[in-house]
């Protein structure tokens, strides 16, 4: 009973218009949840609402009916009995006549008709709704939201019960719809309107249907919306855009072929308008309608469409480039020509007769064909003819490649004329050029236009998707003249193009580019050797290769030729042309591979490598050949350098290695089947290393770095199996040739390391890079002694050994020791080894090395990282304290001396924290398979903060405090902001103190800047602001001080930005600081740097206006 009374109260609250809309919404939700949980039934609801639904008070009745309607809207998936649905829909249908309470009735009808299951509206009821709708609703006179509801109801009726159109007598349903939608202006309603029309005409597609007699009326209502011009910003709650409306209207136009007599003329008329968006819309709609209306209907308009298309493309085609060699005409960024050519393609592919013959018999095209042959170079063609030439080229290309039959017609019509223009014989009996008599290949009759158009035609044939079998049978059957024509043309054309590239015939650049493009198109023609014989193919490749080898001074041409070769390579690979592949490998790949070692061509090494890697990337087969050659060259060079002392090769070799690691390895990573090559490469490098003599006099840093990089990457890209092979190989080389014995005795180590030879250094570095790249699962032989060696070296200050050691401790499996052999070296032991002797040599590099090891531990989340941190802090404090140098305050004269006031060991201990937390690309990252524990940075941050905080408080000398702040800066600036925000309150004062401290030293500008960035992060975050408010005064003091910081512009700029952000804080907190800030910022108006002055103006305004 309590529920029932509550229920009534909700109803009352909803119906009462004096309540706020939030209260009404809440009571509606309450009612719905009661109904959903079956506490009350619909029948009970109706009975309870009896009075509200029938009262004579218009307002209350409207609310009551709306409540019922809204409730039903929310209960769309609740099962209802058919009889309930029937009585409800009858009620709402009747209520449609009640214009004072209309919204509820419409919502109710809509809710019921939308139901998909568990009680749906019967067909008869739907008819009744439709009838009532037509009789009683004056949609046009309603407000926007009600209109929208009415249209939704109509849309839903047509979607679910399209039979209503015929069932409502005398066609007046259609008429009613038209009356409702006529003159609609609201975008959301228009979307519905267009859809309604689409549904309506789609329901009765035949010319005898009930809709047909209204077609012209419907179209006159629709047509006036085209083209849609709608520039309303989308921010005002409506999410309808111009594109949505255009698409909806287009769908409506294309809904029935019956619209064709009206739509096509309208669209063509709008196509000639001057508004670009109208043109684009008409072209899109024509394209879409053409598919729907069908060939016959569109055929009637073919002529009109062709002439408008021609005009449009002429008028909007791309501006012809001043020189053909600079062209970028493939990039059609303009929308109108793109759409126009799309329509052209659609039209030619739709019908195979009339439209294509329009093109072939077109006057304009014929005129252009006749005129172009009189110009023999590109720059002599007048501008408007250039434009026509380019447009016609594209028209021919698009229309020919759309279907086989159109291609046939166009090629048959135009190709002979072009050949005539070029004076190439098409006589099948003589396969030679007519104009090649003597040396006048570039004869008077060679003309640019004809060549250009022939390339476009050939391009169309290339892109025409035609199967090889089909092509063969077409050529053999002889009655397809176009294929035979093509076959005959290809040879002479390729000779013509090749002749341009002859060295002794200096043709101009336009011709050179044309020739390269032409040869590329010819080489890519489909059909194996039917069109292009294998020998011609080889000639073409030879020509292109010679361009690449010899024409590096014309970089555009060079790139074009290289791209042509790469495309050809890719094409052969994709279409599996075995014959051509062999030739390609012989002519192109072998030659390019040979390039690396030969000095025959004076191509810069950079370009050689570019050519090499591009060709290699087109297929694995080519890549393998290139890799083999590269490997061979690298190993020979290495021997030459290290054995014969030929130091001149060092630069070249490091470039080769660099290319290997930056260009080729990433490609191999993403392509299957190249792991073997990497394995081979690593192996042969190690073989070379093994063969080196004991004394190597060369010590080239650049080369060594390149080798380390390539080795790390190569190992990292291999699978575990291959890694095991490599590491074994490397280990055997390592242990056999180093001058110190492995495993070596602890006490000997230090002496041995001191007399390290160049070769040992090389071997050690390479071995370390192998270890860095390893997977955690890979097995390292004789772990213990390797660890000893690395440790020995890192204590001596060898950083790469430290990185390798760090990688080892990061990747060692902590549990493996239990189950596997005793020999397996465990993580604990490794760590113990670090701390076993307290003989940490306090050189800078050793501390850096320690940081790398710490990073390895930190990333896997090992707790021993704490020991390393303590060790680092100890170094920092000890050396910071014992510094005999007096602390120098900043002054502009001695800022350089100020750098020297920190002892270097303490400084590197502070910087070690940066190594610990910052992501590195040298080692210990995902690429090198490091084990990374989630949130390790946050964890480190929470361990470090209390430590550092107490150190800061307790440190006696300002110098060591400054260093602790530096370490603090490194940790905090690498920690994600989220973690910092949690502790913001505590950190803000630390940050501020740190900044004031660091701002005294010119050398600490980086640290200062990173702290300032953290502060600005806290300032701009909502959760951080609370902490800022509490400390507002100290922050302002500090920032004001930083405005004058002379050593870095970014610090001043950021400080002022932070102040600007602070002006948004609560008035009471910041008003006392206003004068202070304004005075400081006024000084910044005279800052030497412009950016700072600009920020100062903004900041001054922000603070001035809080008063």
């Amino acid at each position: 009973m309590a529920e029932a009374s509550q229920f009534n109260r909700h109803i009352e609250s909803y119906v009462d218009v004096s309540r706020s809309s939030a209260q009404q919404g809440a009571s509606l939700d309450a009612i719905i949840s009661l109904l959903k949980n079956d506490v009350v039934t619909i029948a009970l609801l109706v009975r309870d609402m009896d009075m509200y639904l029938t009262t004579a008070d218009n307002v209350i009745r409207a609310r009551g009916i709306l409540l019922l309607g809204e409730t039903l809207m929310q209960l769309h998936s609740k099962p209802l009995e058919n009889s309930t649905v029937h009585s409800l829909i009858t009620f709402f249908t009747d209520r449609l006549a009640d214009w004072r309470a209309l919204r509820g009735a419409v919502v109710g009808c809509l809710a019921l008709i939308r139901r998909k299951s568990f009680g749906v509206v019967s067909a008869d009821d739907a008819v009744a709704v439709a009838r009532s709708y037509v009789q009683h609703l004056q949609v046009q006179s309603l407000a926007q939201h009600d209109r929208k509801l009415c249209f939704e109801l109509l849309e839903c009726l047509l979607e679910r019960h399209s039979h209503v159109v015929t069932s409502v007598q005398d066609h007046d349903f259609v008429y009613g719809i038209l009356a409702a939608i006529d003159g609609e202006k609201d975008p959301q309603c228009l979307m519905l309107t267009f859809h309604i029309v689409e549904l309506l005409v789609k329901a009765y597609p035949h010319s005898s249907g009930p809709v047909s007699s209204y077609i012209s009326d419907i179209f006159s209502i629709l047509g006036c919306y085209f083209p849609i011009h709608f520039t309303h910003p989308t921010t005002e709650g409506t999410d309808v855009t111009k594109d949505d409306l255009s698409t909806a209207l287009m769908m409506a136009f294309a809904a029935t072929p019956l619209f064709e007599p009206f739509a096509v003329p309208l669209l063509l008329e709008k196509l000639s308008s001057s508004l670009p968006s109208a043109k684009v819309d008409s072209l899109k709609s024509l394209n879409y309608c053409a598919t729907k209306y069908g060939t016959d209907r569109m055929g009637k308009h073919a002529k009109a469409i062709w002439s408008s298309l021609k005009d449009t493309t002429y008028a909007t085609g791309p501006e012809p480039p001043s020189s053909f060699s600079l062209d970028s005409q493939d990039a059609m960024e303009n929308e109108i020509p793109t759409e126009a050519f799309g329509l052209l393609e659609k039209m030619t592919s739709l019908d195979n007769g009339p439209f294509v013959s329009l093109i072939t018999s077109d006057e304009d095209i014929n005129t252009v064909f006749n005129t172009i042959s009189s110009y023999n170079s590109y720059d002599k063609i007048p501008l408007h003819n250039k434009r026509r030439l380019l447009v016609i080229g594209h028209i021919l290309y698009v229309s020919a490649q759309s279907s086989v039959s159109s291609c046939q017609k166009i090629v048959e019509c135009f190709l002979p004329r072009l050949m005539e223009g070029l004076e190439l014989s098409l006589d099948s009996t003589s396969s030679h050029l007519c104009n090649s008599n003597g040396n006048g290949v570039l004869s008077r009759r060679t003309n640019f236009g004809s060549l250009y158009l022939s390339i476009e035609l050939l391009k169309a044939c290339r892109d025409l998707r035609i199967s090889k079998e089909d092509l063969v049978c077409r050529i053999n059957s002889q009655n397809d003249t176009w294929c035979c024509l093509l076959q005959r043309v290809c040879g002479p054309l390729s000779e013509t193009f090749s002749s341009f590239l002859e060295k002794n015939e200096p043709a101009n650049d336009d011709y050179l580019c044309l020739a390269v493009k032409g040869l590329q198109v010819l080489a890519l023609l489909p059909g194996g050797n039917l069109l292009i014989s294998n020998s011609t193919f080889e000639v073409i490749l030879g020509k292109l290769v010679s361009v690449v080898l010899e024409d590096s001074n014309k970089i555009y041409l060079w790139r074009l030729a290289l791209k042509a070769l790469v495309d050809i390579g890719r094409f052969i690979e994709n279409f599996d042309e075995v014959d051509k592949e062999m030739r390609y490998i012989n002519v192109v790949v072998e030659k390019f591979a040979h390039l690396v070692s030969s000095t025959e061509f004076d191509l810069p090494l950079r370009l050689k490598l570019e050519a090499l890697s591009n060709v290699g990337r087109s297929s694995l087969k080519y890549m393998i050949r290139i890799l083999l050659k590269l490997e061979e060259v690298i190993t020979t060079n290495l021997i030459a350098i290290y054995v014969e002392g030929n130091i001149t090769l060092a630069k070249t070799t490091s470039q080769l290695l660099e290319c290997y690691s930056t260009e080729l390895i990433p490609w191999m990573q993403s392509n299957e089947g190249s792991e073997e090559m990497l394995l081979r490469f690593a192996d042969s490098i190690w073989k070379t290393i093994e063969s080196l003599p004991l004394t190597v006099c060369v010590n080239n840093k650049e080369l060594l770095d390149a080798m380390i990089k390539v080795m790390k990457l190569a190992v990292a890209c291999c699978g575990v199996e291959s890694q095991n092979l490599i590491v074994n190989k490397a280990y055997s080389a390592f242990s056999s040739i180093t001058s110190f014995p492995i495993p070596l005795e602890e006490f000997k180590l230090t002496q041995e390391i001191d007399k390290l030879s160049n070769r040992d250094d090389l071997v050690l570095s390479l071995f370390a890079s192998v270890v860095i790249g390893l997977h955690p699962q890979a097995e390292v032989p004789n772990l213990r002694s390797i660890a000893h060696v690395f440790r020995g070296f890192f204590l001596k200050g060898n950083v790469i050994a430290a990185q390798a050691y760090g990688s080892m401790v990061n990747k060692l499996n902590p549990k493996s020791s239990v189950t596997e052999t005793l020999e397996v070296f465990t993580l604990e032991q490794a760590i113990d080894m670090i701390f076993s002797k307290d003989s940490l040599d306090s050189s800078d590099d050793a501390i850096t090395g320690l940081a790398w090891i710490g990073k390895g531990l930190l990333m896997r989340g090992h707790e021993r990282v704490k020991d390393i941190v303590m060790l680092l802090l100890k170094c920092l404090l000890e050396y910071g304290k014992t510094s005999s140098l007096p602390l120098k305050q900043y002054s502009s004269d001695n800022c350089h001396e100020a750098n020297e006031c920190f002892p270097s060991v303490a400084e590197s201990a502070a910087d070690a924290f940066q190594i610990l937390v910052r992501d590195s690309d040298l080692c210990l990252n995902r690429e090198f398979h490091a084990m990374v524990r989630p949130l390790y940075k946050q964890r480190f941050f929470s361990i470090m903060m209390p430590l550092l905080e107490s150190l800061i408080v307790n440190s006696e000398s300002p110098l060591s405090r400054c260093l602790v702040y530096r370490a603090f800066g490194h940790v905090i600036s690498e920690t994600p902001l989220v973690a910092i925000l949690n502790d913001a309150k505590k950190l803000v004062s630390l940050l501020v103190n740190g900044m004031s401290m660091l701002s005294n030293y010119a050398s600490e500008k980086d640290g200062l800047y990173s702290l300032l960035l953290v502060l600005s992060g806290i300032l701009t975050d909502n959760t951080g602001q609370e902490a800022v408010i509490e400390n507002a005064h100290i922050i302002v003091n500090c920032l004001v001080q930083l405005i004058g910081y002379p050593h870095r512009m970014l610090v001043r700029e950021t400080a002022i930005q932070c102040l600007t952000a602070m002006s948004q804080l609560p008035y009471t907190k910041i008003y006392p600081r206003r004068i202070q800030v304004l005075q400081a910022v006024s000084k910044a108006l005279d800052d030497p740097k412009r950016v700072v002055r600009q920020e100062a103006v903004k900041c001054r305004q922000a603070w001035a206006s809080i008063a």
Partner: protein
């Protein structure tokens, strides 16, 4: 106040593209100074809104980069001369525009700069009077005591702080 606008239909010109300054190398010239030049002054005033239209002074060509001259001859005090062109000769808004320019530059330039603001010769009916008014600091100070005027000026200046 007369209802209706003084120039109901001004010609609106296109904004000039902001000239990009060559990016300075961050570390190399950390300590070198970049002098305040005419482009910088122009950047301060170009976005000031016209008092009666929703266009900037730049769009109405009331002010242009060439109309700002730098006078560095006297080393102890630098001087800028800003010349503006009212859209119509009898524009009663000229003083308001001048006041806006004055206030904006007062707030944006260091105090050691002297700013001379004038109407372009021959573009305004009461040229001399306007010039005198705009360069009289007593009258400027008095104008800024008037809350209505201050509101108006602040409204015009708002876009230039964006």
């Amino acid at each position: 106040m007369v209802s209706g606008l003084i120039n109901a239909n001004p010609v609106v010109y296109e904004k000039k593209e902001r000239r990009q300054r060559p990016a300075s190398i961050p570390d190399a010239d950390e300590y070198s100074a970049e002098a305040i030049d005419q482009l910088e002054v122009f950047d301060h005033v170009r976005d000031i809104k016209d008092p009666e239209h929703p266009y900037s002074l730049e769009e109405l060509k009331v002010i242009s980069e060439d109309a700002i001259e730098v006078d560095d001859r006297r080393s102890y005090v630098s001087c800028f001369r800003v010349t503006f062109t009212p859209t119509v000769e009898h524009c009663s808004m000229a003083t308001v525009i001048g006041l806006c320019l004055r206030v904006k530059l007062m707030r944006s330039l260091p105090s050691r700069y002297k700013v001379d603001i004038r109407v372009a010769p021959g573009t305004h009916a009461t040229e001399a009077a306007v010039n005198k008014q705009l360069n009289d600091k007593e009258r400027i100070a008095a104008a800024l005591e008037n809350p209505n005027l201050v509101d108006m000026v602040d409204e015009c200046l708002a876009p230039s702080y964006a």
